[in-house]
Amino acid sequence: MLLITCNEIFNKPWVMKHRLLLIILYLIVNVVHAQNKFERESRMRSSEVIAKARTYVENLFPKSKKIKWYWEENLQGVSIEAKINENKKTYSIKFDTLGALHDVELTQKFLELAIDVQQNITNYFQNQYDRYKIRKIQIQWIGDPDVLRSLIKKEETNKKYTTRYEIEFSGRKNKDLESYESLFDDGGKHMETKQIITRNLNHLIY
């Protein structure tokens, strides 16, 4: 029989003896995996997008002819994302599969961030890396759909929302130069860093 139940596996003497070691190994593999950035996305037609999400974006950008929709899978699950280029900025608006708004991201230049945020982020990079170069900054807003609508429209709001900064950069540490993505809170305090795995570019060079 090719089919073996989980119980049969766990009851094997070797597995029983090394159970703790196996659990630790499993956790290490999962932690290492989780620290790398994984995303897989594919294009969607706007007609395939759930009406709730489509209406929210189309009402926000009525003049934008090109709203691009993507189906995105990552380690956290599946989401639907709208990308809009307007006034030399890129807006990414992310929903879950039922059309509930998850977050809004907007590309930023470093000098557009608040001075204290700039200072905290610079301090973090200078302390952690021998050399670094920022490639992309996105401000991320999480909150109620009406609040995020106001923020996109650059209107004042007194309601609560969360601001984070997502930064893609290359950093040199102990002579190793790698690409990373870091997340900072609204004050520029570091939250997490993931290494970006670069695809093999052999086919473009040779």
Binding site: L201, N202, H203, L204, I205
Partner: protein
Amino acid sequence: MRAVPLLTILLLVIAQSGFAQNRFGIMPQISTNFRIGESWKINSKFENRFILYQYPFEGTVRRAAYERSDLEFVVTRSIGPLKNLGAGYLVRRIDKDGSFLHRSIQQYSLSQEFTSLLLSHRFRTDQTFEKNEAVQFRLRYRISIEKPLNGLQVDPDEFYLKVNNEYLGILKSGKGNMEIRLLASVGYNLSESNQIEAGLDYRVENIIGRGKKNLLLITVGWYDSF
């Protein structure tokens, strides 16, 4: 308006092709990358060229024939994310007379990632050594663009479009010449380290002076990385 000079050049090339040698063939290649440590890589490429049609016919044996095989090794060192410096060697067996040609290669490559586009630049110099021939020096620049055919980036089991454009300056026995290459191919990303491609590669050789050569090749490539 920008299209006018380009169109003029294209028309001149087409008009002159009546006086040029035209060849059509197929060029399969296998390219493998071996990683040595954190920063070093060796790329090996094995490439063959078969000519299926040529006019005017300059050979003495047959119009369609196996033409040559290349074996190339390039050792590269990463000097930053998506930046590499390299040096290599190529040996070519030419079927016409069974002779061998040797080439030393130096290159610098850099790639840039955009929202839904990958761009690579390759700057290369090479020196070709052949029996009873003067040494040939070439200065090359190639730009390659990869565009996913689905989504923002090329994921496993997805197709992509690749376009290459290369300019070659050639110096041999004190005489200069030029060559332009344009390749368009469709690739399939089997995994992050494994791709297959098929496309068309158009080359105009000996652009300066008489004796222009047009070459159109069907390319088939397999790229693997270890």
